[in-house]
Amino acid sequence: MLALLADSTIRTVALGAALLGISSGVLGCFAVLRRQSLLGDTLAHAALPGVCLGFLIAGSRDLGSIMLGALATGAAAALAVLLLTRTSRLKTDAALGIALSLFFALGVVLLTFIQGRGNSAQGGLDSFLFGQAAAMLRSDLWIMGAITAAALALVAIFWKEFKLASFDPGFAASLGLPVLALEAAMTAMVALAVVVGLQMVGVVLMTAMIIAPATAARQWTRSLGAMVVLSALFGTLAGVTGAVISAASRGLSTGPLIVLAISAIVFLSLLAAPGRGLAWAALRHWRNRRNLESQQVLATLYRMAAEHGDRRHPVELGTLDTFHGTPTRRALSRLERQGLVRPVRHEPERTPHWELTPQGLAQARRLLTDTGGDRDGEEMS
């Protein structure tokens, strides 16, 4: 890894990937929290005609004009979505799909138009579809860095406003904040993130870079500040990993590698993050079930004892199994380890029997009174 980083191309690529991770990680948070995840998808696809227009206007593969073009068509697509949802009966999903596919179609048409003109420099345009880290120039870093810095500055300056408008737009409006302008700004930020990532990830997979880091970060924290920082961290990690592998291997597209890296991070976060992690939830669920099982068996022993007026009434294992409709042997062993029950012999029967220990009796009584009491529980004092 370190040896790889010594290579100047790889260093450029890694730096670019880090910029991509930071910008899409930070800016994606707001998109995900505002439930506009798929807007990123539309804006990313809509960048393609912008790439082509930028190329056509500049006449070369100049990243600055390509990014400007992508920003412009992204904004146009966002506007189209807004127009369709506000002024027609089409719902958001249809509007997003329409803008996505039609802008992309326009991009395809422009791409073939450029190819038709036989411009020798057009070869590089294809790399904007899936991303090609190796095609990155050192000068591109400055542009990407400038946009990232501008976007981060925007977030830092309007932090409070963005936060409020994301979580409670109604309240924000009642405080006199220009919610519409803030929402427009947050949408524009998604477009910015797309633009920064274009060369790395490509227009098709950029959507994952908007959504995934933020989703992963959300798993680990409840605070927006921590989420934004973590998201940037995850984005950077995935970006650098994917980009370096791609640049070193030559032939593997950068976008898919980065996306797979961030997908793995999302998967792990969903599974293992403390609190919200699915694995922990499953464990909690399993424990609760086990506890409930033990408690039920304990309560049964207690009730049997109460019924017979004998604190140490031995109950046959088979009776317990039949009563609960499931084997109770494991629950009894657990209770035995806690010192709440103990196995006893009940001559002349040969089958295993169980009785409550004094602690078990107290525990069962506590349990039954805690859970709203039990008529039988009153009788044994």
């Binding site: 439930r35 995840s37 596919s101 992309f104 991009g107 073939t112 959504i211 032939g251 593997l252």
Partner: protein
Amino acid sequence: MIQAFFANTTFMIVLTGMLVGCASALVGTFLVLRGNSMLSDSISHSIILGIVTVWLVTGAQAGPLQIAGAALTGVLTVFLTELLSGTRRVKHDAAIGLVFPALFSVGVLLLNLYARDIHIDQHTVLLGEIGFVWLDTLVLMGVEIPRAVLWMTVMTVLNLLFVTLFFKELKITTFDPALAAALGFAPTVLFYALLFLTSATAVAAFDAVGAVLFIAFVIVPPSAAYLLTDRLWVMLVLGVLIAIASSIGGYAAAVMLDVSIGGMMAMVTGLFLMLAYLFGPRYGIIARSHRRRQERETNALRTVAIHLYSHEGTPGQQAENVALALETHLGWPALRAREVLAQGITRDLIARQGDLLVLTPKGRATARAILEPWRNAAAGPDG
């Protein structure tokens, strides 16, 4: 004769476009109505993994095995998406945007790795090559038919059968899933059947239009049709007609400009959408703004009628029921007041008596209908 028909490249390209459009619009109608349009996006991307996997495992590049096998990835995508959003850790739209990029990425990387052996490159993945569908043919009953035409025909027929046979069920599960479930129509099964057909259509259409343009064919014609009608079957028919027209128009435009045929076909569907959006008879914005303007005019006339009626025969009549009062009391700009007044006179609601404005019987009836509706109900007009 038949051979000549299938050997005509222009015709074959347009026909392929038409078939892709028809088959997509049929299933797309229900996706749009259900609010699941973006699932077509996720399906069309992730079938690439299916296509590559099926090819690697069985070597099939076309045919029923390839279509059904690859279509399973599409269904799997939706299943995984539902599973992910079912954990409630992720919103549904974010789940869509997490699952398909991952599957798509695996597909593209496999393409990268086996690029030398496979029939598709990553360029085709996104853009398709409808211009070359006539190159890849197979012989069926002694006639050489382009593969894409054959399989798109099959998919169109299948989709058509599905939609016609299950029309009632699709209708009820689309518009009232809860009722459909209560009646025992198994909305989930039907939903997944719909998604399977969408995926299969995407696979069959893949070589022709690629992953992204397919979305245009699924979403745009039904959306345009949705702006034109309220009836489900009309929407289906219109969607199909728009798809067919787009195929023809797109081909002509693409040849004229020498650009991507598939891209141009998709663009033309957008043109139809724009036309429907602007000129739709009921939901078009022109019709809607016209209706709004009419309503505003009617409201203004009713306001004037009430104003005149309430001051009629009162001492203040001389001051209130004159043209100037509309400006000072109703707060209308002079121009608007004049326009409303002219309208009122043309519609025979108001008449001039010197400076005084008086209500005609019709105008009085209008005011009464609003202020004293019980009169009409109890005793009839003027009673």
